[in-house]
Amino acid sequence: MLRSRGALSDSTLKKFLRNGWTVRVISLVIFLIGWQIFASSVNPLIFVPPSVVAKRFLQLWFTGGLPIQTLITLETVFVSLAISALIGIPIGLAMGTRKIVEYGIDPYVNFIYSLPVVVIIPLAVIWFGSDLWPSTYIIVFLHAVPPILINTMIGVKAMNRTLSETGRSFGLRGIGLLRKIIVPGSLPYILAGLRIGVGLAIIGTMVVEIFLYNTGLGYELVFFQNRFDTAAVIVGILVIMAIGIGCREVIRFLEKRALAWSVGATGVA
């Protein structure tokens, strides 16, 4: 009796641990407890426990400028992502459908992809000086356009070629073919490109805010660093992380909604 009950609870425990979310939550709780214990024993100027971070977050969110700075950052991310999509998707479609366009453009895409874009900042400052607007968008575009463009191109190529042929055989041409066959057919990859692109747009935005700006979450990090407000710096990092997760999940949700017919493309970064 006892043994069989033991076996039962054993298997319940196993089932419990096989559930991804239980394991994730347990892991996070252990992490937070470890952080709390460790951080309580060091100089609070250097490191702070999660309880202090939480308190500082509430302060900054409800009485400080955190919501406004978050909005400023979000605006830069979304405006530049939208423009990156408007640049990257059409070029990617053209590269995917026309070899001559692909060969004409792919060297530049490779150059940009191989470049840590942050090194463009000194040049941008020489060109535009204190005028932050053009520098911002150049840096963010250089981050976000390549993955959108490359994924779109790969999507067009990965799309069952016979489908565009089917469209052609029924008399579809040019824009009609693009709109009715090629774009919907490569949509899984286009959305995967946007999902990767939004992450890179956030990186680009942080780069400009940290190096050039006096607003936005990136600037907040520098501002609080100078004041040795470690808790506020960690709050900033966590908010940026939340933005990243949120954006990716929104696009993932769109992917699921729009692509019920597809087995799902993962895309390439």
Binding site: N160, G167, F170, G176, I181, P184, S262
Partner: protein, 262 residues
Amino acid sequence: MCKNYAAVEGPRESKVVLKDVSFSVDDGEIISIIGPTGCGKTTLLRIISGLTIPDSGRVMFNESQLVDLNNPQCAIVFQNFNLLPWRNTIGNIELGLEAKGVPKEERVKIAMYFLELVGLKGFERHHPHELSGGMQQRVGLARALAVSPQVILFDEPFNSVDIMLRESLQGEVLKILVENNKTAIFITHNVYEAVSLSDKIITLSTRPGTVKKIYTVDLPGPRSDKKVRSAEGDALVENIRRDLLEELHGKSLDAQIARSVE
């Protein structure tokens, strides 16, 4: 009267795929083009449809009209169906009508009519991945019929259909074609299929594909699988099979080809 005339082709890697292929198809006639694997059957179908442009020669409709991909006279029923996976059944049937600029309301009406004709009433909102192979091919047929083409081209249409359903689908397709007086060209390597479906059978030789022989199928009774099982049908099947085997004679008769001739 509808006439097809195609001749000589040899684009890829300057290898001649088809050579001196010439034949005609009458209005309302159903013909099959049969030949060993790699003889250029599919290239011929692509030329007839206008998807591939031949190096020389022409495809003519009604003795004057040239094939025009912007306003296709042919509709293809593909071996692998080639339905748009993001569109439902109705949307797929509408495709060719959209290309023709038919207004939405009329498109839906036409699509519904042909959906019913191929026996898929009730599956309007289903997506291809929710349909069986046989049902997908019915959608493919409805899509082709919907544009009322002069000729319907079938590219080994029953290959990807479950073998259990193949015969009944064949019968239904034939019935629809005959009842609607459609002109059709089947590409196949199945001799039985060719004999049971067609008025005329063209055998092609191995590459470069040329017309080897043209058989008129003149068997008693209605066109159906049954007529193959008559003495005349057996003889015809045997003749065509011998034709194809002759083509392969002296070449490596690998198992796959031998099977495909069966």
